[in-house]
Point group: C2
Chain length 340, copies 2
């Protein structure tokens, strides 16, 4: 693979895969690194770990590490960046394994979840083992900085997911609760991916701080997009069942905004669906969302998060990572547009 | 509390609580330290974390840290030892939270398990959060040594528990499998507790290595004792239901030894009970164990592990930790004797 082919000049991309192809050698190095990690697992659980470290995910968090640590066109993947990308991806994969147990999900990325494949009991422990190995890799850096950052982030991610779990089938959840949950469960790992990437890429403290701000707001925007796609996505494209949040009683932003706009009697009916007291009527709720401008209102909230993300980058004009990171809000806008 | 009251001269003790009272100020410092950690958890999950960090456990692993790091009579608890004791105890508590989900256990230490109290989904995440915080505390040491050791141990503990889980209701399990599982799931954390205690207590590399050997063999012996107590314990004393291993199809040493000694027809019947194809007959199996000398054979296996544990200590005559650590095999023998 020539350097030219590996590093095409940045062009507008409409999806994450397009933008991430700019760091194709880094992603290949990450995959090779993750494969090598399997040797660290006890032989008896190696196949199970292998099953989880699949290569079909989007790898958004590693991309954030590589982009934030970027030092100029033609960069070859530094070992430090690859290792920290592996750490954040393993933490993410561990949380997916545990999420799928809690959601009783059967399929992820077109194949059985670990919970379905090995049983929920083994999957609890397998998630633990993946997480432990992530922290072990973090502890192999010369200083404790990576381990401190990642372990604290992980605790915050778990706290966000606990809150979300305990608030299922409740209609007393507030917008503030929702914002807090997505800040913890999604934005936190985006934030730490950008901060550690920038730090290990040798950038200034000022850029590290702004990369963290960028990552956090991008993460919030991304989660709101994901919640919107749960209603407006095309199943075969996003590879997920639609309407799962309504069916499982999870109040997300589209549902908050719909509820606020419905007349009182319809609001009571929607709440009964969220509480599991009535069958969820996805078609009706989608039609109401369209009629009441919910899609536009959610898109506006996404923009409200992308603004401070882009402002953080604008404070570092010309810095190598900015061009790549700056493509991500554009892609997210294109993805939101594609749901219309 | 006077120093004399806090540090009575070592006397033979028949239970762990008696021996652990030698480090009562250390245990008090540990409890205070663990309480303070609650502030690090997000306010929304603090009560749940508090529920798990209860003070009614035996705290064997912290005791191993304090004894291995002992530097002489009248020692006041060093901050390092208290912190590393908190790390190993939090890892242990996290695994208990996850174990209770898998075992569908309702009660631990005379109150509802976290899984029963908050639901299994929240308990999965709560265990993760406790574990993440343990690793965070490990990462606060000046070097990455503690974090590396603890994260690797945790992965090994999980691997052992996965193997055990996948082998339930199987009679193809070998003695070698059983030995590997208890080496990983129990002996590993005993080993690392002793090694880190000795290291942070400022002892020589030679003693750190032997403390690790001692911890490992004591851990294996302790788990065999625990498996024996599942048959021969007195329920109200050990606070657990008896015969759970037989009922849940878990082949432990007493069952291996019973199976080996039974005539073929009875062996088939026992295997049917382990496979869940027949009602477990605990009374009968206990009577057969008594008749066939299983208790004595298991006790002999415990002795076989205590020998190398004691030999490791004997290589360091007069060293401060040895007197305390040396009491633990004596206590374990007394505990085994009390089952008779």
């Amino acid at each position: 693979m020539s350097a030219t082919a590996a590093f095409p000049p940045p062009v507008p991309a409409r999806d994450f895969a397009g933008v991430f192809s700019r760091v194709a050698p880094h992603m290949a190095a990450l995959d090779a690194f993750l494969r090598r990690q399997l040797d660290a697992f006890e032989p008896e659980i190696r196949d199970m770990a292998d099953y989880c470290i699949d290569t079909s995910g989007k790898r958004i968090r590693p991309a954030l590490v590589f982009f934030s640590g970027w030092s100029g066109a033609g960069s070859t993947p530094s070992e430090d960046l690859v290792q920290v990308a592996a750490v954040v991806e393993l933490v993410h994969l561990a949380t997916l394994v545990h999420d799928d147990i809690m959601d009783e999900a059967d399929v992820r990325r077109a194949r059985p979840t670990a919970s379905r494949q090995y049983g929920p009991a083994a999957a609890v422990l397998l998630g633990d083992a993946l997480f432990a190995h992530a922290l072990h890799l973090a502890a192999l850096f010369p200083t404790t900085e990576v381990c401190r950052a990642v372990s604290e982030s992980t605790r915050r991610v778990c706290a966000g997911e606990i809150m979300q779990t305990l608030r299922r089938r409740s209609v007393a959840v507030t917008r503030a609760d929702y914002e807090r949950v997505i800040d913890l469960k999604t934005a936190e790992l985006f934030r730490v991916s950008c901060a550690l990437g920038a730090r290990l890429g040798g950038h200034s403290d000022a850029f590290v701080a702004d990369a963290a701000v960028f990552g956090r707001h991008l993460g919030i925007a991304y989660q709101i997009y994901d919640d919107l796609a749960d209603f407006f996505g095309r199943e075969q494209r996003i590879g997920k069942t639609l309407g799962t949040d309504l069916a499982s009683g999870k109040l997300t932003l589209p549902l908050f905004l719909l509820r606020d706009r419905l007349p009182p009697a319809e609001r009571v009916a929607l709440e009964a669906e969220l509480l599991g007291q009535a069958e969820p009527r996805l078609e009706l709720r989608l039609r109401q969302m369209a009629e009441l401008g919910v899609f536009e209102a959610v898109a506006a909230e996404i923009e409200r998060e992308l603004a401070p993300a882009e402002a953080a980058l604008a404070r570092h004009p010309g810095l190598a990572p900015v061009e790549h990171l700056g493509a991500l809000p554009l892609v997210l806008r294109a993805q939101v547009g594609a749901l219309r």
